[in-house]
Each structure stands twice: as C-alpha cells, then as structure tokens.
C-alpha cells in the first residue's frame, strides 16, 4: 500500500470518441476564455425549496459555471457547522428527494450544468439505477460522492455509464499516488481536489497543500481539476485559479443566505459573491498565464489579502 505508483503518461480523457459532457464543456469553455470555472454549491431545500431554486438561478446568472445541488442528509459527516445548519433546516422544512430533482431541473433550465452532491445512503436507498434514471430525466449532469470510494462504486459506475452521467470523486492531500490513479481513473466531468484535510467551511487562507495536490493529479488525468474546501471569496478564488481549472465554493454561499436579514438581501448577496468569485477566477487564471512560473500571481488581490500560507482548520 505504500509503493508509489508509476506516474502514467496523462490518460486519454474518457473513451476516445465520447462526446464531452455538459460539465466538461463548461470547463472547456472557461479554459478557452482563459479563466478557471466557478463551481457553486447549495443544498436543496434551504432556506426553502423555492428559495434554494431562486438562489441557484441567481448563481447561474451571476457567473457560476457549474452548480452542485446538495441532497440534504441527516448525517453530514464531512460538513462543518454552516452547511450542517442549512441542511438541518432543509430537512426540518420537509425537503425530499423529489424536491432535489426539481431543484436540479430548474437550475439546469437556467443554463448551467448541475450535479447532485450527496452522501451515499440516500442514493443507495433510492436504488442507484433508479436515481440515475430520474436524475438524467431531470436534466442533471451527474453526482459528486464524497463518501463513496471507487472500490464500492460498481453499481454507480454502471448506472452513470448507462445514463450518460458524470461521476465526480474526491482526492485529498493525504491521497497516495496509487490512490490518485485509482480515483481519477473512474472520474468523469472533473476531479474534485479537496484543498485541505478537514470538513467544509471557509478558511482564512488557501491551503498550501492544494497546488501540490493538483499538480500530482495532473500526472494521472487530463480531466479538469477543481479545488474545493475552504474558499471564501474572489481573492482566494484568484489564488486557486493560478493552478487549478476550477474553484468550488459552498459554505460561503450558504453563509450569505444564513446571514441575510431578508430573502431578497440573501439573493443579492449570493449574486455579489458569484460575481466576485468569477472575477477572481478570471484574474488569477490570466495572471498565471501571463507568468506561468509564478505560483502565486502578484496581480491577484489575494496576495495582498492573505500572505500567510498555513491552512487554518
């Protein structure tokens, strides 16, 4: 288990003739515009089912390239207090799987490919093939599965092939090269690189482990690599855009909705954050292209904002 795997020559993305999925196209479009893609997360049903739909559409209209709709679950093992609170509220409000699918449908209709982020048990209980079928019917792009390792994912790999859905698995700073190879081999759409060891929640600085992880992942796949966990604003998005293809932001969006004195103000704050992230993702990426050797572009607003590099957790 400790033997490092030989870095492969970068794998051919997917099967040779496979058409690009909507998520892959979104990353490609962002790359062609010299910017990192912005991936935004919100749990369905928070602050209400319709409130979450409004917020998701607002994100789509304000610069988010790919949406992740969280399926609220009773035991969110790797979520911090902010997302726990939102998910708890969503469940208390009586959010059901059908509401999640309806949210996916509405978000997709707003023109942004939409994945479902979910712990495994609700999918397992629904029936993997049935969920894949219903998600595809709702226009969903695929699943992000933080507690499903590839070894246990056989039925999901089969179902996602059958219904043409993306499957996003996570790699972490602790992943060995061998693991990175195993995980990236089954990913489709993009690879989710967890920037730090810890649960969801914003951090004061971008983890110094993230860039190294992304570069390791690139030894094994040509899929886009997006970095999540901890990112809170445009300045940090710019930093991440310096080395990754996408920036994933969840808690910061949820926090905007939690803090808002009124639903309208919540939506306005979500729009402002999406625009800030999109601007950061563009600036950081362009600065990196201008000086490809510089790991942390001086032009990025982040460099001034947070010089300390240590990961807070």
């Amino acid at each position: 288990m400790t033997t490092p795997a030989t870095p492969a020559t970068p794998a051919t993305p997917g099967t040779p003739a496979a058409p690009l999925s909507p998520v892959a196209q979104a990353f490609e479009k962002a790359a062609s515009e010299q910017r990192a893609a912005v991936v935004g997360y919100l749990p369905a049903g928070f602050p209400s089912v319709d409130g979450a739909i409004t917020a998701a559409v607002a994100m789509a209209e304000s610069g988010v390239d790919v949406l992740e709709i969280g399926l609220p679950y009773s035991d969110p093992l790797i979520d911090g207090p902010v997302i726990q609170e939102a998910v708890h509220a969503a469940l208390t409000n009586g959010t059901h799987v059908g509401d999640v699918l309806r949210t996916v449908e509405a978000a997709t209709a707003a023109g942004v490919p939409t994945l479902v982020m979910t712990y495994w048990n609700p999918i397992d209980h629904y029936g993997v093939a049935a969920f894949a079928r219903d998600l595809a019917a709702a226009g969903g792009a695929g699943l992000i599965t933080p507690d499903l390792p590839p070894e246990e994912a056989g039925p999901w790999i089969e179902a996602s092939d059958r219904y043409g859905l993306d499957r996003v698995f996570l790699v972490a700073p602790s992943s060995t090269r061998e693991r990175i190879q195993t995980v990236t081999a089954v990913c489709r759409g993009f690879v989710y690189a967890a920037s730090l060891m810890g649960i969801t929640g914003t951090r004061a600085t971008v983890s110094d482990q993230a860039a190294g992880l992304v570069s390791k992942v690139r030894d094994y796949t040509r899929l886009p690599v997006a970095v999540g966990l901890g990112v809170r604003d445009g300045a940090q998005a710019a930093q991440v855009a310096g080395f990754a293809d996408g920036v994933i932001v969840g808690t910061a969006f949820v926090q905007r909705l939690l803090n808002a004195p009124s639903p309208d103000e919540g939506i306005a704050a979500v729009r402002a954050l999406a625009a800030d992230l999109a601007a950061g993702a563009r600036a950081g990426s362009q600065a990196a292209h201008a000086s490809p050797a510089a790991p942390s572009p001086a032009a990025s607003p982040a460099a001034a904002a947070n010089p300390a590099a240590a990961a807070g957790s």
């Binding site: 397992d124 209980h125 629904y126 060891m197 649960i199």
Partner: protein, 410 residues
C-alpha cells in the same frame, strides 16, 4: 481460509470466512470513508495486521490485559437468578469486573498499543454510555496520550458519572449538540475531527462498526471474552452452553463472546437489541429487528432509516445501545443463520436489572440488563436442562440515577 490469507481471526460458517481483504462480511462492511481518511485506514490495516503477527505486540497486550485490566475475568454461576429463568443453569461472564467496569477496556488497550506503534500522540473517541470514553481516557492516561471524547449532550446528562470520570483521567469531553445528541452524533463529530487531525490522531472506535479495518480489529480485540468463557465453562461444567446471550449496541461485547463459539453449531448465539418503548419507528434502537440495509459511518450494514434513507431518531433507556446501526458482522451472522436477534424493551431490561440485583447482589449496566432480560426469556424456553452463558458486559454504577428515577427509589 478461502479469501485473504491475512492473520486476523476470521469467522467461518460453512467454508466462508470473513471478512475478506477489503473488510466485507458477505455484502456488508467494506469502507465508505471520505478519501481524506483512506490513507490512514490503509495504514491502520497494515499496522494492525503486522501487530497481529508480532509476538512482542501480542505479549505486551496479554500482559496489559492480565496485570492492568484484570483478565481473565470470572465466570459466575447465578442459581437464584436461574431459578427465575426456567430453572436451568446460568453463568455470567463478568466483564463488569474488568478494570473501568466494562468490556470496552479490551479493545481500547489494543488500539492504544497500536496508536503508539503508529507514532500518533492523540486519541479521539465517541461514547454513548461513557464506558468506552472512560476506557479510552484510562488507556490514554496510562500511555501518556492526549485524549478527546465526543459524547452526545443528552448522554452527558444521563451518564454524568462517566463524564466526571473521564475528566478526572485527564480527557477532554466535548458535548455534541447536533442531531439527536446521542451516540450517532458523537460518532459524526469524531469523524469530523479525524478528517482534520489524522496526521497525529488515532480514532479509537468503540464498537465493531465503522470502515474497515475497525469491525474486524475490534472483534479480534474483544474475542478474548468468548475464548476465556468457553474454556472456563468446559472446565467447570464439562460441556458447551445451549445458548450464549449478549446485548447488542454496535455489537462489540456480543461479537466478543460469540466469536469463539461460531464453529460450535450446537450453541445458539442470541443478541438482544434495544426494543425501547416498542416497535414504532423512532421509539427503539432495534436495528436488526426493525431496520434495513444501508450505509452509515463508513460501513454497509443494517440501519434504522426512513423511506428516503435518512437516519431515524432512536430511543433506548440505555445510552450504550441507543444507536441506529449495528456492526456488519452481526448482519452477516444473522443472514447466514448462525445468530439470531431479539428486541428487549426498556421495561423488560429494567426487570432484568432488578432481578439480578435482588437475586445475586450484582448491579448490572442497563446495556447488559438487556442480555439478562433475554436470558430470562430464553431460560424459560430451554427449561430446567438448559445451560446459558450471559455476557455481563458492564457494571451499573453509571445507571444508578436513571434507574432510581424510573423505579422511584429516591
């Protein structure tokens, strides 16, 4: 041994042995952990298997179990209790007499030695009744390790004695306010800690649940209960029991006493789950009796869940059984027909508690009282020729307040 070649103590029924190399008991078990933990779980598996094969590790564990934990624990024949239980013979395996007052110490000493072997300096644990937390705090004091114990806030109230014991032993006790504020939520919080601290921290899971290798490893550390009891009973009575009875929360004391008897197909293995206030959803913690297959806390197992896979609230008078899942090996033992499980209500458990106190002068834990209530039923089913072995998994000091209130003793 058909599948793996690893030196753990496999369970065999027929020609199947479990778990396989990736921790599966039939279709149950496995590892559904976040990727961040995969490297640590792989390392733990590797180190555990190496330790199993290392005579020095085994000798040190044996020494600690003997000189520190007080093993072997006794078996005690309880004739006045047996008279209430069909008139046969009943023996208790006295895990209540192990240091710290329950079987939990067996597992914790093993995991503490492993923690040291891995060079980690901090241990975290979840606890329900507080017995696993006390055992962990104890081992950490003994080994000079930092210790943080997560405990549902409701449990910190109903098991307040054990909160004080943990703090005296130098552990930090963190009350968990999320969800149902019981064992499941304490386990969620411990996992959240571990994802961020895994470099220097070992998560000492207290039962036969969680991702591989925990169900196998904790079983192996607990199987000494049945190994001893089987020998002791053969020496004292000259025959194997008709049935072995144990309470089942996560299932560690039950697996511990069952395991050595698994090949003895004439011996019934009976697990007693928390039937709470009855079979209505949310009013019990009888996972095998009322649950269905699913994934929680890193394992595929049986769960109490609603029709969308959300974990149901649970209830039991006993904090240590108040958990919506169960160790995967129990599901497998039931599906292969080797063990059976029954639900014991709060009222029946209180009855088992009182009968043992008054007939034998032993105050049992409320968890163990579920096994005693099961023994009262089973003894009556077996009649006067019956020979029962019951795991008395812990002592009842921690439950004095709860029982006093319920029975109006104050």
């Amino acid at each position: 041994m058909t599948t793996t070649g690893h030196p753990g103590h496999q369970t065999q029924t027929g020609n199947q042995s479990v778990p396989d190399a990736t921790g599966h008991f039939g279709i149950y078990g496995g590892s559904f952990a976040p990727e961040a933990l995969t490297a640590a779980l792989d390392e733990l598996t590797e180190q555990y298997l190496a330790a199993q094969a290392d005579p020095e590790f085994q000798a040190e564990l044996a020494r600690l179990l003997r000189d520190y934990a007080g093993r072997p624990t006794l078996i005690t024949e309880v004739p006045r209790f047996a008279a209430e239980a069909g008139g046969g013979r009943v023996f208790l395996k006295r895990e209540d007499l192990a240091h710290t007052g329950s079987h939990k110490i067996n597992n914790v000493l093993g995991q503490a030695l492993l923690t040291r072997r891995m060079g980690k300096t901090r241990v975290i644990a979840e606890t329900g009744a507080g017995q696993h937390g006390v055992a962990t705090a104890t081992a950490c004091a003994l080994f000079g390790l930092d210790c943080v114990v997560y405990m549902g806030e409701e449990d910190t109230r109903r098991q307040a004695l054990n909160v004080s014991r943990m703090r005296m032993l130098g552990a930090e006790v963190v009350p968990v306010r999320s969800g149902s504020q019981t064992l499941k939520d304490a386990m969620n919080e411990a996992f959240r800690d571990w994802v961020a601290s895994v470099d220097n921290t070992h998560y000492c899971i207290g039962s036969v649940g969680g991702p591989h290798p925990f169900p196998m490893m904790v079983r192996d550390f607990q199987r000494i209960i049945g190994v001893e009891a089987r020998e002791q009973l053969l020496a004292q009575v000259g025959r194997l029991p008709d049935a072995v009875v144990a309470c089942v929360g996560g299932g560690s004391n039950a697996i511990g006493i069952f395991h050595a008897f698994v090949p003895d197909t004439g011996v019934q293995l009976i697990g007693c789950e928390a039937g709470g206030e009855g079979p209505e959803p949310g009013r019990n913690a009888a996972t095998l009796s009322s649950g269905s297959a699913g994934v929680l806390h890193g394992m595929r197992t049986f769960l109490l869940q609603d029709d969308e896979g959300q974990t149901l609230p649970t209830h039991s008078i006993s904090a240590g059984l108040d958990y919506p899942g169960v160790g995967p090996e129990h599901v497998w033992l039931r599906e292969t027909g080797r063990a059976s499980y029954r639900a014991i209500t709060d009222a029946q458990a209180l009855d088992g508690f009182s009968v043992l106190c008054r007939t034998e002068g032993i105050i049992p834990a409320l968890e163990s009282s579920h096994a005693l209530a099961g023994a009262l039923q089973l003894g009556r089913e077996l009649g006067p020729d019956g020979l029962l072995l019951v795991n008395l998994s812990g002592r009842g000091d921690k439950d004095v307040a709860t029982v006093s209130e319920r029975l109006g003793l104050l």
